[in-house]
């Protein structure tokens, strides 16, 4: 399928880039790609309790990335590049947009460096169309992101994909404003 090929090619490009320069994503700060999508208004915090568990213990990832990921659960730290955990999609599409390659590479790099850490890749869809088809669509989206991460060195066992289709909406407007926020993949770290 064309769609799948695009994901694979994109993933390959990213994995190549990632191998060349581990810190390509350094320039990304808290206001990185994750919030440059159609929904910059705080939706990325959905389901994630920010800040409360910040312990200040320094962790050392391989490749000397010690300064970038402080704290026990850096994905809860709004200053961390791992804080953006949501990838958004176009209607009826599971193609990962180029705008999210940095976000995905950032998480992939971190997960590859922490092979004992597991995440759940939640796939979601907007309310349009049928519920079971949307389950399938959500899974394709989550699989696309998972595949890109695996090509960047994340272990198979580290990612569990669950699609909720349109069953767990975060925005409730019956228009593109709401729909664009619901068409998403959430990378869920342990809380």
């Amino acid at each position: 399928m064309k769609r799948l090929n695009r994901v694979v090619v994109l993933a390959f490009i990213i994995s190549t880039l990632g191998a060349c320069s581990l810190f390509k994503t350094n320039g990304q700060d808290g206001a990185g790609d994750g919030t440059s999508g159609p929904d910059a208004d705080g939706v990325t915090t959905q389901g994630i309790e920010a800040g409360g568990e910040f312990m200040g213990i320094e962790t050392k990832g391989p490749g000397g990335s010690r300064d970038r990921y402080q704290g026990e659960k850096p994905w809860n730290d709004p200053q961390s590049p791992l804080y953006n955990t949501v990838v958004y999609f176009e209607f009826d599409s599971s193609t990962v947009e180029l705008a999210y390659e940095n976000l995905i590479a950032t998480h992939a790099e971190y997960l590859a460096a922490h092979p004992d850490l597991n995440v759940i890749m939640e796939g979601h869809a907007d309310e349009r169309g049928t519920r079971e088809y949307n389950i399938a669509l959500g899974e394709q989206r989550a699989n696309g992101v998972a595949k890109m991460m695996k090509l960047q060195g994340v272990g198979d066992v580290q990612i569990k994909v669950i699609s909720y289709g349109e069953e767990k909406q975060v925005a409730f407007d019956h228009n593109e404003t709401g729909w664009s926020q619901n068409r998403r993949v959430e990378i869920k770290y342990p809380q």
Partner: protein, 432 residues
């Protein structure tokens, strides 16, 4: 018949402290009726018993049933010139003057402790003839059911097709938000009374499907961090986990004889339709594509399965022999045709038809390929036929909340089902 002994009477009193009238979970409004509906008068039933009034208003239940079908126009009680409850007192001329083609009278008697006998007669007001007449013994709990049975007999006698008033509907509700969100799979009588929860969960519940014998429900539950398919026996509440493979476990669909379940699994890479033998539990893969294949529906003759696939780029319906083979595309019109369900006579399927971002319920004629759009919403989904094929129940959204609606199979009668609270979706009408 009534107990004369005062001591016995006193002993019986607690029995007559009947449970409070069950709260209706939903009410049904007819939003658009049918021209040429048959005029019928349902006279309040007579009553003989310990209490002043009967435990249920038989005539009101029957009149509501008949009105809801869209095939009848019932005479309001206030317009009745007399209210006879035995045949000798009926003056047919009075009813003809009121333009009533048909007349229903009846009465109920209490015959003992929690024992009743309910009788009714259906008359042709023009010929002055009885068309049907029955008497039913019942317990207090069965009185609503008896009323629906009376509606069924009247419907079948006058319309010539079986009624579906004694059937039930299952649906999923969502209440609350965030951590307090509760999903419920509920079953109610076809008129919305007696709603009962089959399962309540903090995680989504989806895709309820009645077994052909009406005794079990298959559904998808996300209660264990991912979807699994369960089959639950309604009477006992006992359930069995049928499928919990990695990935999607969804879209359960019973074969017409109840021996097999078609379902969607993605364990082998992407969503495909499989068939599970419910006795041996063996699995057979039916579709193989790199696309999404899901939402299987069995043809009434069990020989083929219609499913949704985006193998052509967009979701469309395809048909495949139930034993496997080459799928054939069924739908050509529209951007989106999905989630087929067969009509009881097997000649058409109802589906979700999307065009230019608007999603409506449509009928696809399987022999001609013609599509007819039945509904007017923009987010209509989950069509389900009444077992007599007369109505299609579906989920819609009025811009504020998710609710259920029904449309007659000819698209002429529209109803709205209004629930007390929460969002309601995925209605499925039970078999007979």
């Amino acid at each position: 018949m009534l107990i004369k002994n005062p001591i016995l009477l006193m002993l019986l009193i607690p029995v007559f402290l009947l449970p409070p009238v069950l709260h209706a979970g939903l009410t049904i409004e007819i939003t658009e009726g049918m021209e040429g509906a048959l005029p019928i008068a349902v006279v309040p039933f007579g009553w003989q018993g310990m209490e002043k009034t009967s435990p249920v208003d038989f005539a009101a239940i029957v009149a509501a049933d008949l009105g809801r079908s869209g095939r009848f126009k019932t005479l309001p009680q206030k317009d009745m010139l007399s209210m006879p409850n035995n045949a000798a007192r009926v003056q047919f001329r009075n009813w003809r003057v009121l333009g009533q083609d048909n007349l229903v009278i009846g009465h109920a008697r209490e015959t003992g402790s929690d024992r009743y006998v309910v009788s009714f007669q259906l008359f042709d007001a023009f010929r002055g003839e009885q068309l049907a007449g029955f008497s039913f013994p019942a317990t207090g709990r069965e009185l609503r059911g008896v009323s629906h049975r009376i509606s069924d007999i009247i419907y079948e006698t006058l319309i010539g097709e079986p009624g579906a008033f004694t059937t039930r509907i299952a649906y999923v509700t969502g209440e609350g938000a965030g951590d307090n969100k509760r999903y419920k799979l509920q079953i109610a009588d076809a008129d919305g009374y007696n709603p009962q929860s089959v399962i309540t969960s903090r995680e989504p519940l989806m895709s309820p499907a009645w077994s052909p014998d009406g005794l079990r429900l298959a559904y998808v539950s996300f209660e264990h961090h991912g979807p699994a398919i369960y089959v639950q026996t309604l009477r006992t509440g006992k359930r069995e986990k049928l499928a919990a493979f990695p990935g999607i476990n969804g879209a359960p669909a019973w074969s017409p004889d109840g021996s097999q379940l078609a379902l969607t699994l993605s364990k082998d890479g992407n969503p495909d339709v499989y068939v599970m033998n419910l006795i041996s539990r063996s699995l057979r893969r039916l579709t193989k594509s790199y696309a999404i294949d899901t939402e299987p529906a069995w043809a009434r003759d069990s020989k083929s399965i219609v499913f949704t696939s985006d193998r052509g780029g967009k979701p469309q319906l395809y048909r495949i022999p139930a034993n496997g083979g080459k799928p054939k595309r069924l739908t050509m019109e529209g951007d989106y045709n999905a989630r087929a369900v067969f009509s009881p006579n097997g000649k058409t399927v109802a589906m979700v038809h999307g065009n230019k971002g608007v999603y409506r319920i449509a009928l696809l004629d399987l022999s001609s390929g013609a599509i007819r759009i039945l509904t007017k919403g923009s987010l209509d989904e989950s069509p389900s036929f009444a077992p007599n094929g007369s109505m299609i129940l579906y989920a819609t959204n009025d811009g504020r909340q998710a609710l259920l609606s029904a449309v007659s199979a000819d698209g002429k009668v529209h109803q709205r089902l209004v629930f007390d609270s929460g969002e309601v979706r995925e209605p499925v009408w039970s078999p007979y």
